[in-house]
């Protein structure tokens, strides 16, 4: 029996083309020993939920810089639930105004990371959210 690996989907929903942050996070999680599935730019919540299902991931990391997080995030959470994957943890990186932080956490988002967040924190939180 081989060791169970944490599988993370790093996805970039919405229409902005800045994927630097997503790539940095993908790389950091890889270096922490996780298997990161990277899907590229301009994904719809439907595409992300479908990929999360096919890849049987433990965690989805969303990179959102467009300001559409309050529309995209609940939609993804709903789709994960419909697919029977409500156990999948979701975290967000990007430009998120403070007033939205609380509401996102209430929806069930496990972490929100803005510019300057350390990758060590993200790695630690992802591991904690999966291992409980």
């Amino acid at each position: 029996m081989t060791e169970k690996k944490i599988r993370v989907l790093v996805a970039k929903p919405g229409l902005d083309g800045h994927d630097r942050g997503a790539k940095v996070v993908a790389r950091a999680l890889r270096d922490a020993g996780m298997e990161v599935i990277y899907t590229g730019l301009r994904q719809t919540p439907e595409m992300i939920a479908e990929a999360a299902l096919q890849e049987d991931v433990d965690v989805v990391g969303l990179s959102i810089l467009s300001g559409a997080h309050m529309a995209l995030t609940p939609r993804l959470l709903e789709l994960l639930k419909i697919n029977g994957q409500s156990h999948v943890k979701v975290f967000i990186g990007g430009i998120i105004p403070d007033e939205d932080l609380h509401r996102l956490k209430e929806m069930g988002v496990t972490g929100v990371y803005g510019p300057g967040a350390s990758t060590e924190d993200i790695i630690r939180d992802v591991k904690q959210s999966v291992e409980g």
Partner: protein, 335 residues
């Protein structure tokens, strides 16, 4: 039982969970493989391998679209990428090139890391392919980076193996060195709109002529003489000579022709009986591996750690040879 049933009934959540169990080689995964085996043996396995940057993922994307649109077949893709040997982590990025397949429930893409396993990659890939096969996927495309023995082993699982090349990625000596050309049933020159495609095709043709001399041409007093090459193996079945197909995967060019070439290969496999030979060889390897594993497990259960260690000590002091030790340990096991 219910888990396998759900997979057979097309439950995608059950399928994805089972793929994880099988990949992690858990007891549940093993039990499900036993239950599902009688439902396998229907899928056509296509291996796609080649150096990084030749456009394998884009090609797989187009091939899957082709099978969906022209043949209405359900397609599974297993995309294998290397794990980091230092951290064990991996970034699996093949889905980036396969976004055209999103939203089609007739397609299931699963990314997989090599996990640095000791030859176990081929087996876990084969097991995952079996799950897809049982779940009713008619075409299973396995994509690997053609850069080592484990990838070659994976390619050998397939009924049809495509080796993907691209212009400008090294001269013909590179092609010989890589060694993966020998496993190709079909050679694909992708990015065929790039300069240098003629040279690449010429180099590959020369390679094929060296490997498969159907006839030889001699110069005799200034005129060419053709002579059939000596038959190397006694076989009534006609030999498959790998074909070369040009594609531009990003634009979908050459894909129908490639699909037809694959269909011709399947026809050859079934008519010549090679299909059955390959199935037999593959299952034999699997059976042998399982027997070996099971025997080792039983041995470990029956022989205590102390017995084993004391035997090792005797070998170390040259009181026993390893061969004698094995006999003694096995005999003490049976008692």
């Amino acid at each position: 039982m219910t888990h396998s049933h759900a997979v057979l009934n097309g439950d995608r959540l059950a399928l994805t969970r089972l793929l994880t169990q099988v990949e992690n080689d858990t007891p549940e995964g093993r039990a499900a493989l036993i239950e599902l085996f009688s439902h396998t043996g229907h899928a056509h396995l296509i291996g796609v391998t080649g150096s990084p940057g030749t456009g394998k993922s884009s090609l797989v994307n187009q091939l899957a679209l082709y099978y969906r649109k022209t043949e209405n077949k359900r397609v599974a893709v297993i995309a294998v990428d290397p794990s980091s040997p230092f951290t064990g982590g991996a970034v699996l990025g093949d889905r980036v090139r396969m976004r055209d397949l999103a939203g089609d429930t007739g397609v299931f893409i699963r990314s997989m890391a090599t996990r640095g396993s000791l030859g176990g990659l081929a087996q876990s890939t084969a097991n995952m392919a079996q799950v897809f096969d049982a779940a009713g996927f008619e075409v299973i495309i396995i994509e690997t980076v053609g850069a080592g023995q484990s990838e070659v082993d994976v390619a050998r699982l397939a009924h049809t193996t495509l080796v993907v090349e691209a212009p400008g990625l090294g001269d013909d000596i590179q092609a010989i060195k890589a060694g993966i050309l020998e496993i190709a049933d079909i050679l694909v020159i992708n990015k065929a709109d790039r300069p240098g495609v003629e040279n690449t095709e010429k180099a590959l043709k020369n390679m094929l002529d060296l490997a498969h001399p159907a006839e030889r041409i001699f110069q005799h007093h200034g005129s060419a003489m053709r002579m059939t090459a000596p038959v190397r193996e006694v076989s009534s079945a006609p030999m498959w000579i790998p074909t070369i197909q040009r594609t531009v995967a990003t634009e979908g060019k050459g894909i129908p022709e490639l699909g037809q070439a694959i269909a011709r290969h399947v026809e050859h496999l079934t008519q010549s009986g090679v299909w059955d030979d390959r199935e037999r060889a593959r299952l034999e390897v699997e059976l042998d591996a399982l027997i070996r594993e099971e025997l080792v497990t039983r041995f470990r259960q029956d022989v205590s750690e102390e017995q084993y260690t004391s035997m090792l000590g005797k070998i170390l002091h040259r009181e026993l040879s390893p061969g004698e030790a094995v006999k003694l340990l096995l005999n003490s096991r049976i008692k």
